[in-house]
């Protein structure tokens, strides 16, 4: 229950933040941070809890992004249908990749490479076919109105992504306590042992990847509505795949708050580096990289691990 209380408290504190009049930059910064915390949570379900490391989560993100934009631009339908299409597209892509990979028992680095390859295949296809606008991409006409899911102010997008992030935290909290979550963790810890105990490995993994696909697809739809433009590089480039992986690893894989902590830390470090040495191009990224190396080397359990250890020590200290 303590975890649930933290999630609710986090949601409430963050939700009232815009009332105190933060700058647009602060809101944009937090929106991007929460977006990657949300997308990272998707990776965390399959990679952190299920032990299935994906190097190509952008494939779900891109599918959702393209689905939202195509529904609006090519079929002239509204953004709400676009959202539904994004969730469906993400889930279907998840189902397809999951079916193909898990059916043939791919795991570990083989599964990672297959997801990477799928992302590249999707990028090339998006680059070549007319419905995606090929290399030129597609643009949603600018028409700011809540009915069009386009907002002028930064607050609306902030609240939407905050709601999605809190929902993803609650989902993972619930998952941890469910039979499905237990199966997933059992598969991560020892797949053969889990099978011996009667866990349906294929079905559980497939469920997880479909869930991740749907969640990440919805994240793609959010990006589409915010920036109103998609091209193959934005949708299926490696940047998103790498970042969702990083936020989870740095924050703590297989933990509820890992991706959120990771996204907060990485975005803060990146911003601090840019603020302090922004006029020397590249130096901020070098510092960012160096800090990343330090974190990954010295914090194998991520920031969440550090926080738990510190809290444990503090608790012990107080008791003594």
């Amino acid at each position: 229950m303590r975890t649930l209380a933290i999630i609710v408290l986090f949601g409430l504190v963050m939700a009232v933040l815009p009332v105190f009049g933060p700058t647009d930059f602060t809101l944009s910064f937090l929106t991007l941070m929460l977006l990657f915390a949300y997308l990272g949570q998707g990776w965390n379900i399959l990679g952190g809890y299920g032990g299935q490391f994906s190097f190509g989560n952008t494939v779900f993100f891109g599918a959702g992004l393209y689905a939202t934009v195509i529904v609006q631009v090519q079929f002239g339908l509204g953004p709400w249908l676009g959202l539904a299409a994004a969730i469906l597209a993400g889930a279907l892509v998840g189902l397809f990749i999951g079916w193909v990979s898990f059916r043939y028992g791919l795991r570990g680095s083989y599964f990672a490479l297959v997801t990477l390859a799928f992302a590249e295949v999707f990028r090339i296809v998006a680059n070549s076919v007319a419905i995606t606008g090929a290399g030129a991409g597609l643009q949603v006409p600018l028409d700011p109105a809540p009915a069009n899911l386009q907002f002028v102010g930064r607050e609306s997008f902030y609240w939407i992504i905050l709601a999605l992030t809190v929902a993803s935290l609650l989902l993972v909290w619930q998952m941890e306590r469910s039979r499905f979550g237990a199966y997933l963790i059992a598969i991560r810890d020892d797949e053969d042992a889990a099978r011996a105990l009667g866990v349906d490995i294929f079905r559980t993994k497939l469920k997880a990847i479909v869930l991740v696909g749907a969640l990440t697809g919805l994240g793609g739809a959010f990006y589409a509505q915010m920036f109103l433009y998609v091209d193959p590089h934005i949708a299926f480039g490696v940047a998103v795949s790498v970042e969702v992986l990083l936020v989870s690893i740095v924050g703590g894989m297989g933990t509820i708050f890992g991706p959120l902590l990771g996204a907060a830390a990485l975005h803060l470090i990146s911003e601090v580096a840019r603020e302090t040495m922004g006029n020397t191009p590249g130096l901020n990224l070098a510092l960012y990289g160096a800090l990343l190396v330090v974190m990954v080397t010295f914090l194998p359990k991520g920031l969440f691990g550090l926080a738990t250890v510190s809290a444990g020590r503090l608790f012990k200290f107080r008791r003594s």
Partner: protein
């Protein structure tokens, strides 16, 4: 096998190090953010936003150089006189080549109080920055981004200084036909080698559609990814196809590699003709690979070499050991255009500067445009590309005639 152990002290010290780093980062953050809000006297802040890191960092860095040189010049000449000699203070930003970062950078710059924004080179980034800037009422002078989707979205804060993709490709086709016709229509067959993203694919599609209308036959279209590190097979195909014209549409590294491989395999054609070619209008290519670069033609952005301003800027850039690429004069002009608008607006109010930009009729540029005047979509109606050709150790303009500094060498002589 014995597992390596760590002493308790070492472990604590390492963790302390991490904690220390985190604390340092947090403290720096607390000290860093208020910088955003620091007041800057009477100076006028102008945002200069380019991809100075990431995959297209070279072009972004060049663009920033042009902007910096213009600002230095404007300030040295007394700043904005109608604002009591207010200096232009640049607020630099880095898009990293990512739209979401680009949009966040605009919000940061808006907080810092910029009056106008110059940038941001790549089309996908510029689509995001102009949209983000619209919310703050910040006028945007678009430097290079060619996507025709940038203008005509109903955003009244967008002013594109340069020609769009449609104009560039249309002029490239027309100029090619004129050059070929003047030489007796010697070229009939074409092979297009293009990279597979927005720029290359778009251009290949357009050329495939339009070239047959002008009597050319496209015998092969070869796509490749970026990066590609070997063009051996592509060039072998070229040797077999023997096209009269080779049209490459790729970014710098691939362009150079392709040109070198064509030279090595002694591919002979009537011309190598690029549109917005990655290296074809780049002195670095000319200097580093003079033989492979020889006689390559391009239709691209290029400064008017007859103007004193161009000569002075080129000399200044080359004196710093940098290459004079088109991003430099274009951003140099964009900053001067911004200064002109500020001068006329006589105000550092964003709306006033936007109105002044909309009413622009400016002729002080070093790019070969007649003037800068924006239509209702925000497109400079006089913007145009020119045809260049690498001849000797220089890049000459060969078309249109009134700007030409040299006669086109067409068909190109054997280079082997």
């Amino acid at each position: 096998m014995k597992k390596p152990t760590r002493s308790g002290n070492t472990r604590i010290s390492r963790r302390s190090l991490v904690k220390g780093s985190a604390s340092l980062a947090a403290l720096t953050a607390l000290g860093g953010f208020p910088q955003v809000l620091r007041a800057q006297g009477a100076a006028v802040k102008v945002g200069v936003l380019h991809p100075v890191t990431g995959a297209i960092a070279f072009a972004g860095t060049q663009a920033r150089i042009g902007a910096e040189m213009a600002i230095e010049e404007i300030n040295k000449a007394g700043g904005i006189k109608s604002l009591g000699g207010a200096m232009i203070e640049p607020v630099f930003g880095d898009t990293q080549g990512k739209p979401e970062i680009a949009a966040t950078e605009v919000d940061r710059m808006a907080n810092e109080g910029i009056v106008a924004l110059i940038g941001s080179f790549a089309s996908s980034n510029t689509l995001a920055t102009t949209q983000a800037a619209a919310k703050h009422g910040i006028p945007c002078i678009v430097d290079v981004a060619v996507s025709d989707k940038i203008v005509g979205r109903g955003l009244d804060n967008v002013f594109r200084f340069s020609p769009g993709f449609g104009k560039c490709s249309e002029d490239a086709l027309n100029n090619l036909v004129k050059i070929n016709t003047a030489a007796g229509g010697i070229a009939k067959t074409v092979t297009i080698i293009h990279e597979d993203s927005l720029f290359g694919s778009g251009l290949a599609g357009l050329l495939n559609k339009r070239l047959p209308d002008f009597g050319f036959e496209v015998i092969e279209t070869i796509a490749h990814a970026t990066p590609t590190r070997d063009f051996g097979n592509v060039v072998t195909k070229l040797r077999a196809a023997k096209p009269d014209l080779i049209v490459p549409a790729n970014y710098y590294n691939e362009y150079v590699l392709l040109a070198r491989t064509m030279l090595q395999q002694r591919v002979e054609a009537k011309a190598v003709y690029s549109v917005l070619g990655g290296a074809a209008s780049n002195y670095r290519f000319v200097k580093e690979h003079p033989k492979a670069a020889q006689y390559i033609m391009d239709c691209n952005h290029w400064a008017d070499p007859r103007k004193d301003g161009t000569k002075a800027l080129r000399a200044k850039v080359e004196a710093t050991g940098k290459f004079f690429t088109y991003e430099i004069p274009m951003n140099y002009d964009c900053l001067h255009l911004c200064a002109d608008a500020l001068e006329r607006a006589a105000s550092a109010d964003r709306a006033a500067v936007k109105s002044a930009l909309a009413a622009t009729n400016w002729k002080g540029m070093i790019m070969p445009y007649q003037a800068v005047e924006f239509d209702e979509t925000g497109q400079n109606i006089h913007a145009l590309p020119v045809n260049t050709q690498i001849i000797g150790d220089d890049i000459e303009i060969i078309f249109p005639e009134d700007l030409a500094t040299a006669e086109a060498v067409y068909p190109m002589p054997a280079r082997g």
